[in-house]
Every structure is written in structure tokens, then in C-alpha cells.
């Protein structure tokens, strides 16, 4: 019932939407019951789920599926039959069952969760499955007598969740989130709460007639303070020590000193029976500071800022073995036809020079090689940002990193994977100077240095004063100064502010690697943009028709043809024509892989595809500046061609006018300068445009700017920017979808948020002001505390009130002001930007 209603409602829209994936259906022929589908793949998934009673999948969310229009090759996961490669995914195996974890990038909603955890209903061989949504993985326990690892991967693929198995899995090192900080926080919280309770009797004036009880409470507090000192506060001691070793007084040094002094003084007081010490303040400080650090170090597990090439490449490739030698080197996986070469799945690191690789449609080229068979149509969007595929002829060199979008090709490897051009690009990045080095101290550390000096001065003068007036109270006063003046408030204000800023920006799809990046962004003086893929939109190319005037019927016919092909250009054209077209009935249809389509529509014969296919007679082609085009002929008469070119993102002029008052702008492009005039007109004269820059020259240009004292922010997307992203002070990678692979960077910005970059920069700048403001507030508290301390009148009760009061008010100030700011800066922009 429900399904029927949904369908009818969808039909009133311009196009019928696929029940599975929500993409518009090219025609209404692919149906099952009352549901329409965009392709056979989607219908198959629906039928499989329907038969197994799993249609709740479609009720939890509308169109939860992933389009199955591009079918997955049948033996894609054949390599999982090999022990060595299977071991990379398997975590446990005994006589009856195997446990394995798959990374499924397609996981995105609760429907996915439902379906993947009900896998055992699709295949009884699966014993149980568990999704880790944050990491986008599914854990499978299966009976390997009934279903193999390969079949499990194929089952996941069949329902639309194709596992992503990369070369990195072979290394076997998956990073685990660091839980030690949380353990420390838990212990500190426990001790803090209990010491607080134990201190209450003292504060409320426990009866002096019970000395035994009072001593018991004090000793218990001392005991509870031990784990805080020895375990929870460890990070502060380590950091202070490593700072001191490199002769640098960082912010953790006075904190470590304060914690240590508080503990020693408290211990001495308890032992001598003189007082109760400040154990509650000490553990409270440690607890709040750890909480701030946990908040600030929150990581995004679905994102990765440090990807290397191994995460990008597949685990195995198909090597063709021409059976001249008797003994095959590797284990044989499947044998081809008797006369032809054998196809052997080989782990990528084992590929050698001289091997011939078979690259199927949609697969990556893992090593540099020479094209020996087939038509290469390579999508280098990850390397260069260019969205339109490039054609390569036989005998030409194919560089690693591209994705073959046409039919299968063969490739003779002449450089091993680790030496390929792509891998070298990746490896050439210089190590970024770590933010903790003395050379580039953050302003927090600079502040804390002055702070520490002042504290020591106050402590010294207090000591001097009491030495003259009442020497017995010197020790008292000095320790009290050191305890009270602990810069924990400063640290709290920065960690909590940064943590909150990171969280707010992540909500706006701007993900920073760590808190230091905020400061670097705030200090930017020069912004360098990459052109292709960054300023241009990878998704929708600009499409122009060149040729005869087309009638409506012609356009409809072309749209029908375009909808039949999975070629990227055709899909772009289909999306371009779809809103104004209806799809027609095709009476006969031939597809030439790598060439085009030959079809009969409405009694007319259409030829559609590459220039060589449509107009073989015009052998000498005039290469268009942009390169990519679809040629169309009807009944042997050439009509014209659709030309594709990069489309600049909307709002660039506003982006530039918002940025120019504060920063200098440069556009660095690897392309030739044929678009200079158009770009200069769009961006204005204030922007420096540089063309024909190789990846290496880009890096050098950034270094050149830095030598002039500029703080450079690099905004780029492709791997050709990887070196520049690493060299710059802040490297921002642009990604259409943040789960995609990005070169290693300091921040990841979702592509459609690029025009809000000025707002983000302003936001980071005001973050600094929030920290300074809350620091001033904490200084006020410190002055009050110091006033008590130098008078040698700091009772544990005063400390116990002052400490949480200052911490909590700082928390409120940072949270409140950063949230108000985000509303002012980010949301306001949001409305005017759209």
C-alpha cells in the first residue's frame, strides 16, 4: 500500500524516481510490482531484499540505496581467494568460522545499518554482522564452509555496498582511536569527585574532637590524589619535560610545576597533621584540563588527513601471463581461454617491471606503463582535478593514478608501483615543521612564557616579604602563589575554545586536522588557489552545442541516446538534457565500447560518440582547446557536437572581493593559459594568475612566498597539489564528498562550502579574541587568588571555591561567545551566500 502511494506521488513530479537509489528513471520499463527503477542493478537489489522480507530498508529512509547503474565486474574480488590477501582482512579464523572486517564507503544512513546487520537473512552462511558507523566498516562472522570471504565480499557488492579494499590493508596497520586520554580523564574524574566529598567535612568544620576521623579523611584524600598525580597528569609532565629538554618553556611547564607543588605541600601538611592540603583543587584542575584536551583532540574517524598512496590503490591487480614459461610465478587464480594469456590476481607490491596488467573499466592504473591494447579513456580527476577523461592511443604512456573509464585495456608496466610518478608526487612532500618546535610557537605559548615569568616574580617578592616579616610563613605563601597562579585557566580557555570552534566548523563541513590549524588560518596573509577542480566544479561541466539547429525531437533523441551509455560524458550530457526532454523508444541499438552508439529511434538512424566513430572520413581532427566532445550524426548526415569544458563555481567573484582586503590572492594552475582572459574577468585584477605550473613548481612558488615572510594558505584538490599543500602553512583540500580520498592536508573543506572561506577565516580570527578575553577573565580570578596567597591566607576552602568557579565561568564564556559568533559569522553568510 505504502509503496503504491509513494510511487504515485513521485510520478506527479517531472521524472519518476528510482525506488532504490532515488535517481530519475530513464524510462518506465524497469518495474517490479508498483516500484520503478533506474536500472536493472537497482531492480535486482530490490528483488533480493523483497524476497527476504527486508523491505524495511526502504521504509526507514526514502531512496536509501546506491545506484547500481555501473555493474561491478564479476571476478573483481577473485583475489580474495588467495590466502595472503584474505589474511589482510581476516582477524580470526578457527575450524568453523572466520571473522573479517570490510570498509564500506557507501554506508550513510540507518537503512544501511538495518540491512547490513540483517545479512544473515540473505545468506545463512553469515553468522552475524555488526556495523561501526563512525568508521564505515562492517564486521562479519561467517561460516567459511558455507560462504567464502570472496563470496561475502560479493554478497555485500550485490546489495550495493561494495567493499573498498586497498593496498593499505596489506600493511595491516589500522589506526585505533587513542583511548588513553579518556582513561586518564575517567580516573581523574573519579578521584576529583571522591576527594571533594571527603573534603566537605573539613570545609563545614568537622568537630575537632574527632582527630582520628579527620586524619582518616585526609589520608584517604592523599591516597586518591596519587593516581591523579602519577597517571592522569602524566601528559603534562611529559610535555613539560620535552619542552625543557629543548630549552623551551611551554605552557605545560608551569602546570606540571603547580600540580607537583600542590601535591607535595598537601602531602607534607597531611603527614605533619597541619592541614588538609589542596588535593581537591589539584585533581579538579587536572580533570578540567584533560576534559578540554579530549574535546580538542576529537578526531573524525571517517576522515583521514594523512593518506598515503597505499590507501588509494587497490590491493590486487590482474596480471596477464603469456604462458611461454612453464612455471607460473604466483598462484594461479583463473585460467583464460586455452590459447590466450592467463589472468593472475597479484598483490600490488608484487607487480614487477615488464608485467602486463589487465585494467578493467572503472579500475585504477596502479603503475606507470605503456598502453598495449584497447582504447584508454583515463579519468585523472584525482591527480589533476580535471573532470573530463583523457584519451590515450596505443603505445602512449599512462601514468598511475588515473581511472580507466572505457573498456578493458592492457598495460605494460615499466616502473614499479613504489617508483611511479604518482607515488613520487606523494612522497616528495616535505615534512611539515611540527607546531611544538621552538621556531614556531603558538601565541598561547608566547603568552604563557610571560605569564610564567610574572608568576615567578610574584612568588619571589612574596617570599622576600615574608622572609622579612614572618619567616615561618614563607614556604606557605610561595607554594600558595604557585598553586593559585597555575595557568590552567589559560589552557582551559584555549582548549575549550578550540574544541568548540573545531566542532562548529565541522558542522559547517570544514574539517580541521587539529587545533593549531585554527591559529595558522587566522594568521594567513596570502591565499593560493588551484584552478582545476578547486575553482572549477568537477561535477557539472559546461556543455555547448556546436552545429546545426536542433529540433525538439532531435534533442529528445539525443537525450535518449545519452541515457543509454555509462560513459562519463554521456552521463553529463544526459543530466544536461534531461530537464527539457522526454525519452523515446529505441527500436535497435548497438554499442561499440570506446566508440559510441548506433541506434534506430523513430525510424531514423543515429550515430553518437567519438569523432572517429561518427566521422571516420574526417581523419585529421582539429583538437579542440578543451578536448572532450560528443559527435552526433543522423541518417549519415553530420549534425554537430557537444563540447565540454570546466565550469567555474558560482560565487567566485564574491569570494575574491571578500578576501582581497585582508589577503593577497594567487591562482596557480597546471593548465595552459587559454582561459586567462575569462578567469581574470571573473576574479578581477587584484588576483595574480599563473599558468603552466608543474606540481614541483607549485611547491617552489609557495616556498618562495614563505621566504618573503608570507603565511600561505593553499587551497587545492588534486594530487598535483599535494606538495604545495604540504609546503604551505595551511593546506586545505577540497573534496566533493568528505569521505573521498584527499591528498594529505591540514583541513578538508567540502567543495560547495568554498565560497564561505572568508567567513571561516574570520571565525578563526575571532576565536583568538575569545581566548584572549577568557584569559583576561582568568587573570582576574588569579589576582583574587594571589591576593589571598601572598597574604598567606589561602585556605583550602577558598581554593576549592575559586578553582571550579573560574573553570566553569571560563567554560561558559568560551562556549557562549563561540556559539554566538558562529551564528553571526557563519549563519549570516549562509543566507547571503545562497
Amino acid at each position: 500500500m505504502k509503496a503504491g502511494v509513494a510511487c504515485r506521488m513521485e510520478k506527479t513530479n517531472t521524472a519518476v524516481l528510482c525506488r532504490h537509489c532515488g535517481e530519475p528513471c530513464p524510462n518506465d520499463k524497469i518495474v517490479l510490482g508498483e516500484s520503478h527503477f533506474c536500472c536493472e542493478g537497482c531492480r535486482l537489489v530490490y528483488r533480493l531484499l523483497d524476497r527476504n522480507g527486508l523491505c524495511t530498508y526502504y521504509e526507514l529512509n526514502t531512496h536509501p540505496g546506491v545506484s547500481r547503474r555501473t555493474p561491478v565486474r564479476k571476478d573483481k574480488f577473485a583475489f580474495l581467494d588467495q590466502e595472503k590477501m584474505a589474511d589482510a582482512l581476516v582477524s580470526f579464523r578457527d575450524a568453523d568460522q572466520t571473522h573479517a572486517t570490510f570498509y564500506l564507503p557507501a554506508i550513510h544512513c540507518s537503512s544501511c545499518l538495518y540491512l547490513l546487520e540483517n545479512l544473515h537473512r540473505l545468506d545463512p552462511g553469515v553468522l552475524s554482522s555488526r556495523v561501526d558507523f563512525a568508521a564505515r566498516t562492517v564486521f562479519l562472522a561467517f561460516d567459511h564452509h558455507r560462504i567464502s570471504l570472496r563470496e561475502a565480499a560479493e554478497l555485500l557488492t550485490a546489495i550495493g555496498y561494495e567493499p573498498y579494499i586497498s593496498m593499505r590493508d596489506l600493511g595491516g596497520s589500522r589506526s585505533e582511536p587513542n583511548r588513553r586520554l579518556i582513561y586518564r580523564l575517567g580516573v581523574a574524574g573519579f578521584c576529583f569527585g571522591n576527594i571533594m566529598l571527603l573534603s566537605f567535612p573539613e570545609y563545614l568544620g568537622i568537630d575537632g574532637s574527632e582527630p582520628m576521623l579527620r586524619q582518616a579523611f585526609r589520608y584517604l584524600s592523599l591516597l586518591l590524589a596519587l593516581p591523579v598525580l602519577l597517571y592522569s597528569a602524566q601528559p603534562f609532565f611529559f610535555s613539560a619535560w620535552s619542552g625543557l629538554k629543548s630549552k623551551f618553556l611551554n605552557i605545560d611547564a608551569p602546570i606540571a610545576l603547580a600540580v607537583l607543588v600542590t601535591f607535595l605541600r598537601g602531602g607534607w601538611e597531611v603527614m605533619s597533621g597541619g592541614g588538609s592540603g589542596y588535593f581537591d583543587s589539584m585533581s579538579g584542575i587536572v580533570f578540567f584540563m584533560l576534559a578540554g584536551r579530549v574535546l580538542q583532540d576529537r578526531t573524525y574517524r571517517a576522515l583521514s588527513f594523512d593518506r598515503d598512496y597505499t590507501a588509494y590503490f587497490p590491493m590486487a591487480v590482474t596480471v596477464l601471463e603469456y604462458s611461454t614459461a612453464g612455471d607460473p610465478a604466483g598462484p594461479v587464480d583463473s585460467t583464460g581461454p586455452a590459447a590466450g594469456p592467463r589472468e593472475v590476481s597479484t598483490a600490488l607490491p608484487d607487480v614487477r617491471c615488464g608485467d602486463t596488467l589487465l585494467i578493467h573499466s572503472g579500475e585504477l592504473i596502479p603503475a606507470d606503463g605503456i598502453l598495449t591494447r584497447g582504447d584508454a579513456l583515463i579519468d585523472y580527476s584525482f591527480v589533476t582535478g580535471e573532470s573530463l577523461p583523457v584519451c590515450r592511443e596505443l603505445g602512449e604512456i599512462l601514468y598511475a593514478g588515473g581511472r580507466q573509464t572505457g573498456a578493458s585495456i592492457e598495460l605494460l608496466v615499466f616502473k614499479e608501483v613504489a617508483q611511479s610518478y604518482l607515488t613520487q608526487l606523494w612522497n616528495r612532500q616535505p615534512g611539515k615543521t611540527t607546531p611544538d618546535t621552538p621556531g614556531k610557537p603558538s601565541f598561547i605559548h608566547t603568552l604563557s612564557r610571560y605569564f610564567t615569568i610574572i608568576v615567578f616574580a610574584v612568588a619571589a617578592s612574596a617570599a622576600l616579604y615574608w622572609q622579612l616579616v614572618d619567616p615561618a610563613r614563607t614556604w606557605d605563601a610561595v607554594t600558595a602563589v604557585l598553586i593559585v597562579a597555575c595557568p590552567c585557566a589559560l589552557l582551559l580557555s584555549s582548549t575549550f575554545t578550540n574544541g568548540n570552534l573545531l566542532r562548529i566548523m565541522a558542522k559547517n563541513h570544514f574539517y580541521l586536522r587539529n587545533a593549531e590549524t585554527i591559529e595558522h588560518i587566522a594568521g594567513t596573509t596570502h591565499i593560493v588557489f588551484d584552478k582545476t577542480g578547486t575553482l572549477t566544479d568537477t561535477g557539472a561541466p559546461e556543455i555547448r552545442w556546436q552545429g546545426d539547429q536542433l529540433s525538439t525531437l532531435d534533442r529528445w533523441s539525443i537525450a535518449t541516446l545519452a541515457a543509454q551509455s555509462t560513459h562519463p560524458l554521456s552521463r553529463a550530457l544526459a543530466a544536461h538534457l534531461r530537464p527539457t526532454s522526454e525519452l523515446l523508444y529505441i527500436s535497435s541499438f548497438i554499442e561499440r565500447p570506446g566508440g559510441g552508439l548506433d541506434a534506430l529511434i523513430d525510424g531514423r538512424r543515429w550515430t553518437y560518440g567519438s569523432q572517429a566513430f561518427v566521422r571516420p572520413q574526417s581523419a585529421v581532427s582539429q583538437p579542440d582547446a578543451t578536448g572532450a566532445a560528443i559527435y552526433i550524426a543522423c541518417d549519415g548526415h553530420f549534425l554537430g557536437a557537444y563540447h565540454f569544458s570546466g565550469n567555474f563555481r558560482t560565487g567566485l567573484d564574491k569570494l575574491v572581493s571578500d578576501l582581497t582586503p585582508h589577503q593577497k590572492l594567487t591562482v596557480l594552475s597546471g593548465d595552459n593559459s587559454h582561459e586567462r582572459r575569462r578567469l581574470q574577468a571573473l576574479l578581477g585584477d587584484g588576483v595574480n594568475l599563473l599558468f603552466d605550473r608543474s606540481p614541483h613548481e607549485k611547491t617552489q612558488y609557495i616556498r618562495h612566498l614563505q621566504r618573503r615572510g608570507e603565511k600561505v594558505m593553499m587551497v587545492g584538490d588534486g594530487l598535483n597539489d599535494a606538495g604545495a599543500l604540504g609546503q604551505s602553512d595551511v593546506g586545505i583540500a577540497i573534496a566533493a564528498d568528505c569521505g573521498n580520498f584527499t591528498p594529505s592536508s591540514d583541513a578538508i573543506l567540502r567543495a560547495d562550502q568554498l565560497t564561505r572561506l572568508p567567513a571561516f577565516i574570520r571565525f578563526c580570527r575571532s576565536g583568538r579574541r575569545i581566548i584572549v578575553a577568557s584569559f583576561v577573565l582568568s587573570i582576574l580570578y588569579n589576582i583574587i587568588g594571589l591576593w589571598f596567597a601572598v597574604h598567606s591566607a589561602l585556605s583550602p576552602l577558598v581554593a576549592a571555591v575559586l578553582m571550579p568557579a573560574s573553570s566553569l565561568s571560563i567554560l561558559l564564556v568560551t562556549y557562549g561567545s563561540s556559539n554566538v559568533l558562529s551564528r553571526l559569522l557563519l549563519h549570516d553568510k549562509d543566507h547571503s551566500g545562497r
Binding site: H99, Y114, R179, V187, G193
Partner: protein, 60 residues
Amino acid sequence: MSVIILLLLASLSVALIFLGAFLWSVGDRQYDDDYSPPRRILFDDQPSLPDNDHAKLTSK
């Protein structure tokens, strides 16, 4: 008055049990994924685990 000390020790050991439970639950990866558990519980037909000790093994 020793009864107060006795009570104190009792309450502390209860608190210790809770601390232990917290540390265990962090180590058990219960806080790693904050998306699935609140949704998993809403599914009408709970994904049934055919054999309970498999579930135990999932946490390694």
C-alpha cells in the same frame, strides 16, 4: 565512629566498581560509534544473533 569509616570504605569500593565499569566500557569500544546503537534499538525486528558467543567474539 568507626562505622563512618566502614561506610566510607564501602561507598568508595562501590564507586571503584563504577570506575572499573567505565574504563571497561571505553575499552570495549562502546563509545566509538555513537550513531548505530540508538538506531539499532528502534528496528522492529531486532537483528537476531544466531549464536550468542559470536557476538562476544566480535569485541575481540
